[in-house]
Symmetry: C2
Subunit: 154 residues, 2 copies
């Protein structure tokens, strides 16, 4: 009885998404690509208001900076996980450059730097707008360092 | 000089993604949809190995359960944020039902229950496989409760 109940719920979880039934390498590569792009879209969504503040388009809000920068840091720490699947040679649309998977330690290190700077940004917010601007710039610089090395140049 | 440096980095951040320059309501709805689907894809990616363990397809690994369930909990807490943009009536492909935005408190409450159960799952892992199975079932049940109410039935 307990087994049946648990099994039913396991089945439910398995049906959460076709992801879990992925069959061939191309499907797995597409799912991995969608997942890593998905993570970065969430990062961007939390960055949006901070960019608005830095540009003076919306009022500086220390509490929101702290909240969003903390979430950005947590998300960015997941980057090495979601880039674990090597999609070199797979038929996927991606801006991720192949040499990510030749340099995973460096790539993960660059992501860790972004996470550290986002944590510092969260901490800096209570120090006022100048502190925010400086820490925001440092975080953006860490994003750029990774994009310059590992993303298709736009 | 400092202004120019900071401005350059702000501009860099603004160029992170077209997201930040979104113009009309339909574009914003598409970005919001992509972002929330992106978050859930990351959740599913961390669920995958737990489903494999629950089905006996891969060996039980308490440490991995704890790591992934903790990340799932953190991600699920972001659900109300990424569903904030009301996309009712927008031209987007989505399984999110319109009444999410009539019942945001209940929707957010259901997400909070998933997050709590995922945290409990992380804690249960060290208690062995039976504890894992029970806490995993409870987490899957909380996912299902939200899907049953707020997602297109499949």
């Amino acid at each position: 009885m307990k087994f049946i109940r648990v099994f039913g719920l396991v089945l439910t979880a398995a049906l959460l998404s076709p992801t879990l039934q992925a069959a061939d390498a191309d499907e797995r590569a597409q799912i991995a690509t969608d997942t890593r792009q998905g993570l970065l879209k969430v990062v961007v969504s939390y960055f949006g208001p901070l960019v608005g503040m830095a540009r003076g388009q919306i009022p500086f809000n220390a509490e929101l900076v702290e909240t969003n920068a903390t979430k950005i840091s947590t998300l960015v720490e997941m980057i090495p996980d979601v880039f674990r699947t090597d999609t070199r040679g797979a038929d996927v649309e991606t801006e991720a450059l192949d040499h990510i998977w030749d340099n995973m330690d460096d790539f993960a290190g660059k992501a860790a730097t972004v996470a550290e700077r986002a944590t510092a940004l969260a901490g800096a917010a209570s120090g006022g707008q100048d502190n925010f601007m400086q820490a925001f710039g440092a975080t953006g610089g860490a994003c750029k360092a990774c994009h310059d090395e590992y993303r298709v140049q736009q």
